[in-house]
Symmetry: C2
Subunit: 333 residues, 2 copies
Amino acid sequence: MKKLLNDPADLVAESLRGVERAHPELRVDHEHRIVYRADAPVSGKVGLLSGGGSGHEPAHAGFVGPGMLDAVCAGEVFTSPVPDQMAEATKNIDGGAGVLHLVWNYTGDVMNFDMAAELAGAETDTEVAAVVINDDVAVEDSLFTAGRRGTGAAVPVEKITGAAAEQGRSLSELADLARRVNDNTRSMGMALTSCTVPAKGTPTFDLPEDEIEIGIGIHGEPGRRRVPLAPAREIAEMLMEPLLADLDFTGGDGVLVFVNSMGATPMLELHLMYAEIAAILDNAGVVPVRSLVGPYVTSLDMAGCSVTLTRFDDELLRLWDAPVAALGLRWGM
Amino acid sequence: MKKLLNDPADLVAESLRGVERAHPELRVDHEHRIVYRADAPVSGKVGLLSGGGSGHEPAHAGFVGPGMLDAVCAGEVFTSPVPDQMAEATKNIDGGAGVLHLVWNYTGDVMNFDMAAELAGAETDTEVAAVVINDDVAVEDSLFTAGRRGTGAAVPVEKITGAAAEQGRSLSELADLARRVNDNTRSMGMALTSCTVPAKGTPTFDLPEDEIEIGIGIHGEPGRRRVPLAPAREIAEMLMEPLLADLDFTGGDGVLVFVNSMGATPMLELHLMYAEIAAILDNAGVVPVRSLVGPYVTSLDMAGCSVTLTRFDDELLRLWDAPVAALGLRWGM
């Protein structure tokens, strides 16, 4: 295993020290492994909390900041944070209007956020609501998940809900909005190579030099099927066919097309994939109105990509365009 | 070779189609492989042109936009664009105040930009100046370079000069400014793994599983030395020692600390490296005032990182902070 680290056991803690040093607009609680926007809690605003296992950077800390999340909890690599962390963060981002948990659908995360809501409610009287993100059409139930996995949808869900929270909307309104974004979003990913979890030191799965995995999970969970390595054009078809079959993306105010690197796949290839995907959308009568291309929800050093489509209405588009200043997503400020 | 592409011969052209589709704020001339900001030429403003071989994404197209470059020329992977491309771009971004070429120091690029300036001057009367970026302290002369290679300094040089160009400064003022940024910037990189050039299909060099290369070039050119794989803390020392020995970064208005991924190294590891580098700077009495952490000047799928330090004065800091809206660098707009 060749990685830039000291002791694998210290990787997450040491990386959080770098996040703190590089980004003074964030505040890091090292004991609880929580990354806050420096001005949290924002008085009168609903606090937005997410988080999960590390190894998906810039998710999750990269989405903390004005216009997006108030805090995230960091677990070990590919491991849910614990309820104590989440309860601590919940209490600290409550500006008096309650806290919304945006939970990626993995069994451990869902259970722990649920316990954290109870803990926070018992200790203070913070009102908590939760929305589960479950956009991955690849499989129902998986290694760590009941139902569909939460993947790329986290970016539009957290971005759009964050913009609405800045407007002063109520907890229940924001929960409805987050559900609406999630319901209008679908994702599908693929791997060219496995990732290597530092604590283990060897690839999570074996993928022969001439095979790829379609429908891969962001922890290397099994996908739909393995197929021979194919041209990008065919891979794009394999990703888009199940996406477009799962939800009608025509009409409305167009779609957000989010082409994500699993980590090791460079922008040169991602933009080529974007062109292939745009051509498929043209043929399907789906209109891309916004794009996002890059590494946003990664799986350590896995090579591969995922596609996430969000069906916009006028309001979702406006909230997507609102200013955001997170280290992983920034415009307008 | 496992990559997301169709025919390797079409990779750059097809990727530029994706750039065009995903980013309507850019205009792509596919015949000449030039990426323009959509509103170029900007009347009365000096036009800024850069470019080089593909495979370093988001460099170069990712630095085109308001507050940064007016256009870039894309070559084949790791291959200089040709003078005709550069001359065409030069003519088309001249808003009447001349054009500044920001040239990464590789022999082919320097020669071709030089010829392009002559061509453009002969055909129209566009006034052209050129500044060569040569920040890499690793080696004097290399596989493709006389003198020092141009690497990470391109980001602060192009950003800061771009901000000053928006203010309406003259061609000679901007050339002086670009030289000043370059003169105050040093870089040093390292590789954990080789990259694989798609047209070749096999790794550019062999690096055993237990060795790393210190001082690597962004095309895989040889560095200073190969050493056994070491903890991040020691690798940070190996990068910082020659940087700090080459220029006095103490005093002034602090430094920009730019920790760059060579492509396949994820943010989790980069932030850990940032923490190690910040600790070394603390000990050396150098004050980090701005940071940039991520993949900006990559080498396809190479794993590894580079560190770039820029010594700020008050003016450089202010211009660094000015708004920029490129796909690879964006804040304030």
